[in-house]
Amino acid sequence: MLINQFLLLGAVLFCIGVYGVLARRNGVLVLMSIELILNSVNINLIAFGHLWGSESAVNAQVFALFIIAVAAAEVGVGLAIILLIYRNRTSVAFDEVDMMKG
């Protein structure tokens, strides 16, 4: 198998995630797109780890596990923030959250 198969898959998923972050206005959907981006990064890490021998494979897997754990924490806090926005404004549309705009 080519290394580029995995790297290009990661790139495609990353760009779909970027599109989702930019084009969605529902906060929960934006968070889902961020998960997509984090997953593509994990594919890259594990593919590169596999490319460069056993030691780097183990290191890459540990890094991927750390990313998964941090992503879980991020989703928890992110959803709490979105819930708070919903409670204050009865809407989760991110383009309506513009109180900081002059």
């Binding site: 495609v12 760009c15 889902m32 994990n42 897997q61 941090v70 992503a71 806090v77």
Partner: protein
């Protein structure tokens, strides 16, 4: 090798199609379910790269916990069940151009640099591979080299949990 390539093709197609539907569907609950497909396919791709432990953790944490959290978020923000006309903003065109441009640059760089480099073929036996980069090796690494970051991660998770509860609870 052929079987692995076929498996990769199926998994890559499934994950890309589900990801495209995830960012285009009008139905918020369907988006969460498409996320399950993407995450499960990515988990299977980890298996192709001999990272079984990460694959299992991916299924447990993402499909088991994060997607349930998302469904709770959808429920608590009372998103419309069924088609919702209001999930996209008006910069879809710009977003698509940005994403495609980015994809072009990334693929050009990757193809230019890695070309047709191959992943290492499996010269060593399955047993050696398992011993060197299997779950046991990952566990050893976490609890020796990466012990301090691991403990910091525990503190981070606790802080995030407490923070989420403090933010979300009703006074």
């Amino acid at each position: 090798m052929v079987a692995q390539n076929v498996a990769f093709g199926i998994l890559a197609a499934a994950s890309v199609l589900a990801a495209l539907r995830l960012v285009t569907t009008k139905n918020v609950v369907h988006a969460a379910l498409y996320l399950v497909v993407v995450l499960a396919s990515v988990g299977a791709i980890y298996v192709l790269l001999f990272a079984e432990f990460v694959a299992v953790v991916q299924l447990l944490v993402y499909v088991g916990a994060v997607v349930v959290l998302f469904l709770f978020g959808i429920m608590l923000t009372k998103a419309q069940i069924g088609r919702d006309t209001d999930v996209d903003n008006d910069q879809r065109g710009v977003a698509a151009v940005t994403a495609l441009f980015f994809l072009g640059v990334l693929s050009y760089a990757l193809i230019d640099f890695f070309g047709t480099d191959k992943l290492p073929e499996q010269q060593v036996s399955e047993a050696v591979l398992t011993a060197e980069r299997g779950t046991r090796a990952v566990g050893d690494s976490i609890f020796s080299t990466y012990l301090v970051p691991f403990e910091a991660l525990g503190v981070l998770l606790t802080a995030a949990l407490v923070g989420a509860i403090v933010l979300a609870r009703r006074d």
